[in-house]
């Protein structure tokens, strides 16, 4: 199978890339690591007329420490770099934990964090992880830059708040609050396959031992990352216990309306979401 013909553009700066994307409008696509876009093009599920390759934009690469303990990650930073970074392991352990779950080594050697976030595949791990970490996305477009919290970035299936001509340039992760712990769990048929369901969770425990704040987001059970708001509320104000975890798992499963497909029925996905919620929270209680 072959992709349809396209014009290949390789800008040398972010400004040039934005200009090329603006010129191309809806027919232009930015190419990051290409690990989702090229398969889609090989099967002609995507047929962009112009491919704007971000390969040379070194200003979009790298992991920088923020003074307050957070991180700024360039959108073109490879999964592999996040996986091997001691800075990420130290400051964003949830990001380090999720890396081995993302596809296979070959994919992580080319795939980028920004590409994964902007592609908005509902089965992707990073959108949920960035959501529970309260990450903020830095975007640049023809009219300048803006920031978008992850909570407002995902609008639907493969759809984000990015306008044509806009480029995701960096991801800012605030420092993990004191007393916060996090976990990630997913189920897939074989390791590296798309998840049938998955969950990312951050729990902040107060000095009194009760949960002060909780963030939980699920993947592969909706049109994008699904924030489990009622579950989060149910956890706050009491210590994590067998009972509170059981409640949280039940609420998570109850609130979801997952899709059925060849890989799993809606009922099975709902069941998995409950089990995974249970497992993730159990780990945080231990």
């Amino acid at each position: 199978m072959k992709p349809g013909p396209f014009e290949y553009v390789r800008p040398a700066s972010v400004e040039e890339a934005i200009a090329a994307l603006e010129d191309g409008g809806y027919d232009a696509k930015p190419l990051a690591g290409g690990q989702s876009l090229i398969p889609a093009m090989n099967f002609r599920l995507a047929q962009p007329a112009v491919l704007v390759d971000l390969e040379d934009l070194d200003e979009l690469r790298g992991i920088r420490a923020r003074e307050d303990g957070g991180l700024i990650i360039g959108a073109m930073t490879l999964h592999r770099e996040l996986e091997r970074s001691t800075l990420v392991a130290e400051r964003a352990p949830l990001v380090a934990e999720v890396m081995p779950w993302i596809a296979h080594p070959q994919i992580r050697n080319r795939g980028t964090v920004g590409g994964s976030l902007a592609h908005a595949d509902p089965a992707a791990e990073l959108p949920s992880v960035m959501q529970v970490l309260d990450a903020v996305l830095h975007v640049r477009g023809p009219d300048g830059g803006r920031t978008i919290p992850v909570d407002e970035f995902y609008l639907g299936l493969f759809t984000t708040a990015l306008e044509p001509g806009e480029l995701l340039t960096a991801i800012e992760i605030p420092p993990l609050p004191a007393g916060a712990t996090c976990a990630f769990e997913e189920v897939s048929r074989r390791h590296g396959d798309f998840a049938l369901a998955g969950v990312a969770v951050v729990v902040e425990t107060g000095a009194d031992g009760a949960v002060a704040r909780a963030r939980m987001s699920l993947l592969s059970v909706g049109d994008g990352p699904v924030l489990a708001e009622r579950t989060m509320a149910s956890l706050v104000g009491r210590a994590l216990s067998a009972e509170s975890i059981r409640d949280a798992a039940a609420i998570t499963a109850e609130d979801l309306d997952p899709p059925s497909d060849i890989h799993a029925s809606a009922a099975f996905r709902r069941h998995l979401a409950g089990v995974l919620t249970h497992r993730a929270l159990d780990r945080l209680r231990a």
Binding site: M1, K2, P3, G4, P5, F6, E7, Y8, R10, L31, G34, Q35, I38, P39, M41, N42, F43, L51, D53, E55, R80, P100, A103, H104, P105, Q106, I107, N109, R110, H191, G192
Partner: protein
């Protein structure tokens, strides 16, 4: 629409005219005639097209050829040296790790990228490094044995046959 690119493959420099929509795999197979890398799924699922780019295993079927410019590409054709088969290839032969052989070039590349960094990789590390390569014949046991043996050979400088006591 074609463009002229300069590629470095297995130590050789090639100036090639390729259609802009070609992947690295299509260029290797249909322009350079290096048909060792296999075209399996064309969507990054099977790993049969795995090659080594700047020391890392990547999927050539989903890498636009332009992105290989300025990089060192190695394919299964480049694994053997002047003195014959690479220890990894000998280990595959000795342990019977190849059956139909379709997945083998990709698996050799994934395994080599691992062993060149970590020849003492254990079975778990090998399994993780090969998790993106599907084999439908062997059930992986002999493949893991082969990669373990190759790692031993590469870190000790001994021949794989000598290690397992084959004549």
């Amino acid at each position: 629409m074609k463009q002229i690119l300069e590629l470095r493959v297995n130590g050789d420099r090639h100036e090639v005219g390729v259609p802009t929509h070609f992947t690295l795999l299509e260029t290797l197979r249909y322009v350079l005639g290096l048909t060792g890398s296999k075209q399996g799924c064309d969507k990054g699922d099977c790993g049969a097209c795995t090659v080594i780019v700047d020391g890392e295993a990547v999927l050539s079927c989903i890498m636009p050829v332009q992105e290989a410019e300025g990089r060192e590409v190695r394919t299964v054709e480049g694994i053997a040296g002047r003195r014959g088969a690479h220890p990894l290839q000998k280990a595959f032969d000795l342990t019977g790790a190849a059956q139909c052989g379709f997945c083998t070039p990709g698996i050799l590349c994934s395994a080599l990228a691992l062993l060149e960094v970590n020849p003492q990789a254990d079975r778990d590390e090998i399994a993780r490094a090969l998790s993106g390569n599907l084999c439908r014949c062997t059930g992986y046991t002999k493949i893991f044995e082969a990669v373990l043996l190759a790692g031993q050979a590469m870190s000790s400088g001994r021949e794989p046959a000598e290690i397992i006591g084959e004549p």
